[in-house]
């Protein structure tokens, strides 16, 4: 196999391990943006706003909230660790496929143009 192919494969394996395994050790605290958006409100145990004024009050439903992978879990998988890990693996594969596809198309377009000009 070519040297570059090995590099891409090892990079993908690293990404799969990070998204599939290490992701289970990630912090579940609100992130930098969330914590600013939540400032001024009080929340109950289920994260519903119970009072106050904050940016998060106007948060609206996402169009993709019913996706089987919404919230980085695979619907139907009861085990949290497995659910998060599988969603991460699917995400890495999907991003590589979509990204690779976009860049392949962009490259293919350039090649055609060069041929026409030649």
């Amino acid at each position: 196999m070519k040297k570059s192919t090995w590099f891409i494969l090892s990079g993908l394996i690293a990404a799969l391990l990070l998204a599939g395994v290490v992701s289970n050790f990630a912090s579940s605290h609100p992130d930098g943006l969330d914590s600013v958006a939540r400032e001024g409100c009080t929340f109950d145990a289920d994260d519903n706003i119970t009072g106050g004024t904050c940016m998060a009050q106007s948060e609206a439903e996402n169009q993709t909230k019913d996706s089987p992978l919404a919230g980085y879990g695979l619907r139907g998988v009861g085990n949290d660790v497995l659910s998060t890990g599988l969603s991460g693996v699917i995400g890495v594969v999907a991003t590589f496929a979509i990204g690779g596809g976009v860049f392949w198309l962009l490259r293919a377009g350039t090649r055609d143009r060069t041929k026409q000009n030649a």
């Binding site: 609100p30 996402n62 991003t95």
Partner: protein, 233 residues
């Protein structure tokens, strides 16, 4: 479970401003496609795909920065160093689109806001800092590492201020705080997140520059030629 990533949800910024930034994001990405196409060769196609997949993976890894507050890498600096600013911004955008459409992370209506902040502003700031630092810092083994850390801190902070501008233009809820206070709160947490991003970015690009310097845009295109180093040192 990883926390929801640092992406703007639907409804936080009103629809008109979200639409305005969708137009800005599309225009910016159009420029990236035109410019990036010139830099794309057959070898870079899988590399750019890998950069996107790797950023997706690392964005799942929230780390704590303050009691009760976490953050994760945004990836603009990492992408800019590895594949350049234009292809890099496309990589980060692909991650944001996958997250919004498949993982419901970040509002679909808010996609233009998120792409503008993280893919366009974050990558541009990271790239400009790296390009400047590689020019002014002495050329040593650690130069790229140091540049990666500093550029990451600035890049993430700049991206966070993009949100402050968007909130100023179209924030749906008036929280009764001054814009300066919101900007300071965003900058404060994102400086810390940027430090974490800096560590991850520096480790990654230093490793890749060591094993495959030919695959690192910053090494190929930004390092001063050795000839001029011999004159200056």
């Amino acid at each position: 479970m990883p926390a929801v990533a640092m992406h703007i949800s639907n409804g936080i910024i009103d629809n008109q401003v979200a639409l305005l930034f969708a137009a800005i994001a599309l225009a910016g990405l159009g420029l990236c496609f035109v410019q990036g196409r010139r830099e794309l060769d057959d070898r870079l196609v899988p590399m750019a795909g890998l950069v996107a997949a790797f950023i997706f993976a690392v964005q799942m890894l929230n780390f704590q920065v303050l009691p009760g507050v976490s953050g994760h890498l945004l990836g603009g600096t990492l992408a800019a160093i590895l594949v350049g600013p234009y292809l890099g911004a496309i990589c980060v955008s692909i991650v944001l689109v996958v997250q919004a459409l498949i993982f419901s992370d970040g509002g679909v209506t808010a996609l233009g806001l998120n792409v503008t902040n993280m893919a366009l502003l974050g990558t541009a700031a990271g790239y400009l800092l790296v390009a400047t630092l590689l020019r002014v810092l002495p050329r040593r083994a650690w130069t790229l590492t140091v540049a990666a850390v500093i550029a990451s801190v600035v890049s993430v902070t700049v991206a966070s201020q993009g949100f402050v501008l968007q909130y100023y233009l179209g924030g749906a809820v008036d929280v009764g705080r001054s814009l300066g206070a919101i900007a300071a709160a965003m900058a404060g947490t994102h400086l810390l997140i940027g430090l974490g991003e800096g560590v991850i970015t520096a480790l990654t690009v230093t490793y890749v520059a060591k094993v495959r310097p030919d695959l690192v845009y910053a090494v190929r295109n930004l390092k001063r030629p050795v000839v001029s180093e011999a004159v200056t040192v």
